[in-house]
């Protein structure tokens, strides 16, 4: 196990290094740079002034020098300066991470709390009215774009309550924060829960046809014990995988929701930074997301061992 962990950690470092090169190169392949954009809000471009700004920002340096400068800074914990706000990038990124993290966790909790039990119910009551209803709901969760759902929720709140549940900073209480975030989290979690529900259902259906389930029933185990202790435990591995993938992709998936509900999180900020070609922000944020994905994958792999004793990561 120890050797496996070391191998995994090394692999993670290699993956992150590859990601850093990819991010850096791809970002510079996009047409236009920050100087074009700085001048855009002035409605003209002055080539001499543009060159001067490029020099100030180090954009006139060879790309390898720029990469080494960024990566060595990153290793020292220096993320550089944001081009647009002219503030340290860390000051721009750090306050936004908890906002998105809270939203992502809530959305994930929503998807698991609804997706798993409803998936089990749907499988247990296969081909009943309840099963059909849950399948329609899950299908709608996968089909409805989250921005449309978000707007619909906002319209409904304004129409029925005369109040709009958009983000407010400094609400003063954690409970209020969570209540306000729970609405967009539900809008995002609805899609994930639909995915989890469908996967749980199909996985459960497969497991429930196994001999050991019949044996459990023959032994006189209660229906909930059969469904949850015997069936779900064996059906949960693919569900955990999909939850892991969803968790990793949630940050990207939150872009639209953060825009519609006006939440100042990292997802929306990343899109804006890409639009502004704010390289220090984009590079560091994408690296952060890459680390989240890599670590989540690692955690999911470790969870397999906990959930299924047959799995062993030995050489």
């Amino acid at each position: 196990m120890g050797a496996y962990l070391i191998r995994r950690l090394l692999l993670m470092l290699v993956t992150l290094f590859g990601m850093s090169v990819l991010i850096f190169v791809m970002l510079r392949l996009v047409p236009g740079n920050i100087t074009d954009i700085i001048f855009d809000s002035a409605g003209f471009v002055n080539p001499a002034a543009k060159k001067k700004i490029e020099r100030q920002l180090g954009l006139d340096q060879p790309i390898v020098t720029q990469y080494v400068s960024w990566i060595s800074g990153l290793a020292r914990g220096d993320l550089g300066y944001a081009y647009v706000s002219e503030k340290p990038a860390i000051e721009e990124i750090l306050p936004r991470i908890p906002v998105t993290a809270k939203l992502a966790v809530l959305a994930l909790v929503f998807s698991v709390l609804f997706g798993v039990p409803l998936g089990v119910m749907s499988a247990v009551r296969q081909n009943t009215a309840l099963d059909y209803l849950l399948r329609v709901i899950s299908l709608s969760g996968l089909s409805l774009p989250s921005f449309w759902l978000g707007l619909l929720i906002l319209m409904a709140f304004v129409h029925w309550f005369g109040w709009i549940p958009i983000y407010k900073s400094n609400t003063g209480s954690l409970w209020h924060d969570l209540a306000l975030l729970s609405i967009p989290a539900a809008a995002v979690g609805f899609r994930s829960s639909a995915l989890v529900m469908r996967l749980t259902r199909s996985s459960m259906l497969e497991v429930m046809r196994q001999d050991y389930i019949r044996t459990a029933r023959a032994k006189g185990a209660s229906e909930p014990a059969v469904n949850y202790d015997h069936a779900l435990r064996n059906a949960v591995l693919p569900v955990v995988t999909i939850i892991g993938i969803e968790a990793a992709f949630l940050i990207g998936g939150l872009i639209v929701t953060e825009t519609v509900f006006n939440i100042p999180g990292v997802a929306r900020f990343l899109v804006e930074a890409i639009r502004w070609r704010d390289y220090p922000i984009v590079q560091n944020l994408v690296m952060f997301i890459a680390i989240v994905v890599v670590v989540t994958n690692f955690i999911v792999d470790m969870l397999y061992v906990v959930l299924d004793p047959r799995i062993k990561y030995e050489e």
């Binding site: 047409p31 236009g32 074009d36 954009i37 700085i38 001048f39 855009d40 809000s41 002035a42 409605g43 003209f44 471009v45 002055n46 002034a49 700004i53 944001a82 647009v84 706000s85 002219e86 503030k87 721009e92 306050p95 707007l151 906002l154 319209m155 709140f157 304004v158 005369g162 109040w163 709009i164 958009i166 900073s169 825009t259 519609v260 509900f261 006006n262 100042p264 929306r268 900020f269 804006e272 639009r275 502004w276 070609r277």
Partner: protein, 531 residues
């Protein structure tokens, strides 16, 4: 149209006769909540050419003079003192001396002096070591020779030649006085002014906050404790938030004609005013790109424009057909409809014009079977794309087969400046309703913001001539002569001047929306909340 003109006349009369807002007992306190439509580039008004910066930050500063915030029209008669208590021209009309207000302090406590004025204009004219990173209105001050100070409270602007509207340039929201002791870099991120509101905080993508300046030189003002701008990029969300009462006011001109119906039906008590934005939708043709170097093709393109169709489709018939200057009743210098119709491409009978255009195209070898294939470039924003699509449809009528090429919004100006387009659809905003601002900025050979790089030395001479003419009537005739010349040269055919609404809830008092500029009425020192 007659009804619109009649309404305009009432508006003009009201504006000239006096204050548009009856005096009420103002209440102090409260925070004004406004949404912002996008992420503003910086807090330095002098470095930007966008309402996104001027609207929130104008309250931080003072000008030397300013357009009366309580009058709807910006005109020479509505210019009032600000940091300058008075001003006077010398006999040669080339020296303008301002007597400055005493006892005014910057937000950091340092005293305001004539040196600050000199410093600001030295930066604007490129004579200061700590110059602006970008200087979009440098052309405004091309006639300024130097600024001299006479003690701490008097400053003289020395011009190369007389300039009739020189004072108007100082009255714009784009012309604040900056402190000498604060670097241009700091002015972008942490601006210091003498104005009614102090800058508190700018959280990128989230909010901008300002607090009341307790030491403001206008005693008792401002009435508000502060202003909070919240950035909401999604238009549906922000309009819903305004309807729900989350905000006291919308962002300027954010409510389009179709949206206006929604807002007024969902918030029937909201006050919404539909005014010209002074942003023109215009056709840009690259005269250096073949075959558009042939004036005949450019003429044919101008003849196919059906401006009324644009206006009906895009603004429900509310926008205005115009030349370069904003048309009356709100515009002070624009041509009336009867004069406009005499310009090439403005005839009421569009089909007749198109028949003439087709003949031109046929003489050049194009036909329905052999159309001219082009790309119509535009910025990837709806307000650019939509008219570009109509343009493509109208070009088809004269054997021009256009394909829409949407350019990433961030590199639009860079591409146009480099001439990497043949035909484009562009939008141009004008800061002050004055010929000097519009003509020098967009059509003079030396302007960096002359996007098409149209250059006609005779026209430049004519622009200089109107600039020096002090008789307003004679000047208007010269401006119209320039309009005719620009239309003949197809310098940048103006398709329309759009209108859009700004809305606020009735508890917001003391605010007057200007009718002939969107850039000059955001001081907010007279605004109060009746809550």
């Amino acid at each position: 149209m007659p009804l619109k003109r009649a309404l305009g006349c009432v508006l003009v009369t009201a504006a000239i006769c006096g204050s548009a807002v009856p005096a009420l007992a103002q209440k102090s306190g409260g925070t004004l909540r406004i949404y912002h439509r996008d992420n503003l580039p910086s807090g330095s008004i002098h470095e930007e050419a966008t309402i996104s910066t001027v609207q929130p930050f104008m309250g931080v500063f003072n000008n030397l003079v300013i357009y009366d915030q309580q009058k709807k029209l910006n005109a020479p008669e509505t210019i009032v003192p600000d940091l300058a208590e008075s001003w006077a021209w010398d006999a040669s009309k080339t020296k303008l001396t301002f007597k400055l207000r005493q006892g005014v302090k910057w937000h950091d406590g340092k005293p305001f002096t004539a040196k600050d004025v000199q410093c600001t204009w030295n930066k604007l004219t490129g004579k200061d070591n700590d110059d602006f990173r970008k200087n979009p209105r440098a052309i405004w001050w091309h006639n300024l020779k130097e600024v001299t100070v006479n003690g701490d409270h008097e400053v003289t602007f020395n011009l190369n030649r007389p300039q009739a509207s020189f004072l108007s340039l100082f009255a714009s929201g784009y012309t604040p006085v900056y402190p000498c002791h604060v670097s241009t870099k700091d002015m972008r991120t942490n601006p210091i002014g003498t104005g009614p509101f102090k800058f508190v905080e700018f959280k990128r993508g989230e909010s901008v906050r300002f607090a009341r300046n307790p030491d403001y030189w206008k005693k008792g003002q401002p009435y508000l404790d502060g202003i909070e701008w919240k950035v909401i990029e999604n238009r549906s969300t922000r309009i819903l938030a305004f309807v729900a009462g989350e905000f006291d006011m919308t962002f300027n001109a954010d409510v389009t004609v179709p949206l206006l119906k929604d807002v007024t039906s969902q918030a029937p008590k909201a006050i919404c005013e539909l005014v010209p934005t002074y942003v023109s939708t215009n056709l840009i043709i690259n005269p250096k790109a073949a075959p558009f170097n042939d004036p005949k093709i450019r003429k044919a393109m101008a003849l196919t424009l059906d401006r009324k169709a644009y206006i009906d489709i895009l603004s429900g018939g509310k926008a205005d057909i115009s030349g370069v200057m904003l048309p009356p009743p709100e515009g002070l210098w624009g041509m009336p409809p009867e004069e406009l119709q005499k310009l090439p491409g403005y005839a009421a009978d569009v089909e007749k014009s198109r028949a003439e255009a087709r003949k031109i195209m046929e003489s050049l070898g194009y036909s329905e079977a052999k159309p001219l294939k082009i790309k119509v470039s535009t910025r990837n924003i709806a307000i650019y794309r939509d008219p570009a699509v109509i343009l493509i449809d109208q070009l088809k009528k004269i054997y021009i087969d256009g394909e829409l090429e949407v350019i990433d919004t961030s590199i639009w100006h860079a591409k146009v400046t480099r001439g990497e387009y043949s035909v484009g659809l562009n939008l141009t905003g004008v800061g002050v309703d004055d010929p000097d601002v519009n003509l020098y900025e967009n059509y003079s050979c030396n302007s960096e913001r002359n996007l098409t790089q149209y250059c006609n030395k005779d026209l430049d001479a004519l622009i200089d001539k109107q600039s020096q003419e002090t008789d307003a009537g004679k000047r208007k005739q010269l401006v119209w002569e320039i309009e005719r010349k620009l239309a003949e040269d197809l310098a940048r055919p103006i398709i329309m001047y759009d209108r859009a609404a700004t809305c606020w809830h009735p508890h917001l008092k003391g605010f007057v929306l200007h009718a002939n500029s969107i850039y000059n009425n955001w001081r907010f020192e007279d605004v109060w909340l009746d809550k």
